[in-house]
Amino acid sequence: MEDSKGLWKIKYESDLFPEFGREIAASPGGENIFSCIQCGTCSGFCPLSLYMDYTPRRIIAMTRAGFKEEVLSSSMIWMCASCYGCTVECPKEIKITDVMYALKQRAIKEGVYPRRFLVPILAHSFFKSVWKHGRNTESHLIVSMYMKSNPFKMLTQSLLGMKLWLKGRMGIMTDSIRDKKSLQSLLQAVKKIQNGKAH
């Protein structure tokens, strides 16, 4: 595929990843994607579909067909706000929101998500904070996220942060659990078990 302007619009079978659909179908929540009848209820319901490069329906179709590159680099999967509207409305009981999670994880794993795109960065910051403290402190999160993606944007946001702080809604102190050790070893244990399974 050349670009979205309609040039070079042909996809060769040899450029597809036929196993991609099966792999996503095998991840938790993905089990029904091969039942999709392309009815579009998901996209019709999705409050965000109009801002997306591909609608959820098309993502399902493309996943199934093995359009791995397009799917993983799509902004759609990051734009999903997890409202679960599509999931409860789908006539084939496809857990579309969970499929989006599976795709996000896959994208992160393969490192193909859009650079400076805030959602994956937010997710990473979140991950770190919880790993360290067991809880997340929203103010820290926002600072670290903007530092990584768009330090300039910080300036516009700091006004809001200030307002929140004045209302007592933004702590500066790091919130943390007591037994951090146990939490970290728990997370490590599950990681180990998971990796053990993979091999």
Binding site: A81, C83, I108, T137, L164, K167, A189, V190, K197
Partner: protein
């Protein structure tokens, strides 16, 4: 019945007023509860994007701690006011049951750390507990300053009713409307009760997130609401914090307080504004009510 209270990270930060009002209402209703000891992050949505299994493990630690704390209880009821926590905890529970591999991995990791999750947990939203455990009768009986004339647009958001339809309909829920009527308010009839507010998008793809919140506020205002009642700190934040920028960006004129439904309950019970955290709102409740006859006692 005894409950375990799970605040979650937001209720200690941006959603402080939610915690304050939830606890005030708990006390007014004489609900027996204990905070979950040494609770950790629920595993929230963003975390899930990186590693689902770890997210569910985080949730499972909370569930295991709760079971330990209420060791003698056959069913441990956890109240999670934040809709995101509510959903993530519940989702972890479902996945542990439905997907044996996930269940096995998490159980054995817990075991390694000398913990155990037996499955005695029932995750509850305070709205569910109020309406279904305590009952509208009792809720009504405690009202001291009925919210007469106040027009409330109940906003349920997504994750409290989807994908698990635990206590109300996933598209056209009614519990909160019933509750508001019990407090003496008028429930505004509108069709966006469960439409997404933009969630965390306000923080990432700002224009889009704001747009979604704007749609909700605009419609609620058009339908004559004086206040929009929320049940989730993220929804409340989105609906409230950007009203100025929204109006500039989308050429609108929204000016509508977004309060926690527990704050409205507290007001009807005559609990002080400060106890309910009303002073923390950006769009003060007065901005609307002073114009209204019938409801005067808010003075922030």
């Amino acid at each position: 019945m005894r409950y375990i209270y799970y605040p979650g990270c937001s209720l200690k930060g941006t959603g402080r007023a939610y915690e304050e009002s939830v606890l005030a209402v708990f006390r007014a209703l004489e609900l027996q509860f204990e905070e979950l000891d040494d609770w950790n992050c629920c595993g929230a949505t963003a975390y899930m994007a990186i590693d689902e299994l770890q997210a569910f493990t985080l949730a499972a630690r909370n569930l295991a701690l709760a079971e330990k704390q209420f060791a003698d209880e056959e069913e441990v009821n956890i109240i999670a006011p934040c809709s995101a926590c509510y959903l993530v905890l519940m989702k972890a529970q479902h996945y542990i049951e439905e997907y044996t591999e996930i269940g096995d991995q998490i159980r054995s990791a817990l075991k390694e750390c000398h913990m155990e999750y037996e499955g005695r947990i029932r995750i509850r939203h305070p709205l569910d507990v109020f309406v279904n455990d305590i009952g509208l009768e009792k809720i009504k009986s405690l009202v001291r300053k009925p919210l007469d004339g106040l027009r409330v647009a109940s906003y349920y958001g997504c994750q409290m009713v989807r994908p698990y339809k635990v206590f109300d309909h996933h598209y056209s829920p009614t519990t909160m409307d019933d509750l508001m009527r019990a407090l003496g308010a008028k429930a505004v009839d509108w069709s966006l009760k469960t439409r997404c507010c933009g969630g965390s998008l306000t923080g990432t793809i700002e224009q889009v997130g704001m747009r979604l919140s704007f749609i909700l506020l605009n419609e609620a205002q058009k339908r004559g609401a004086n206040v929009i009642a929320t049940s989730c700190p993220l929804c409340q934040f989105n609906l409230e914090c950007y009203q100025g920028s929204m109006n500039r960006k989308f050429n609108g004129s929204v000016d509508l307080p977004a309060a926690y439904f527990t704050q409205l309950m507290g007001m009807a019970y005559g609990i002080s504004n400060r106890e309910l955290g009303l002073q923390r709102l950006f769009v003060p409740m007065t901005s609307q009510f002073s114009k209204k006859e019938g409801y005067q006692h808010v003075g922030v």
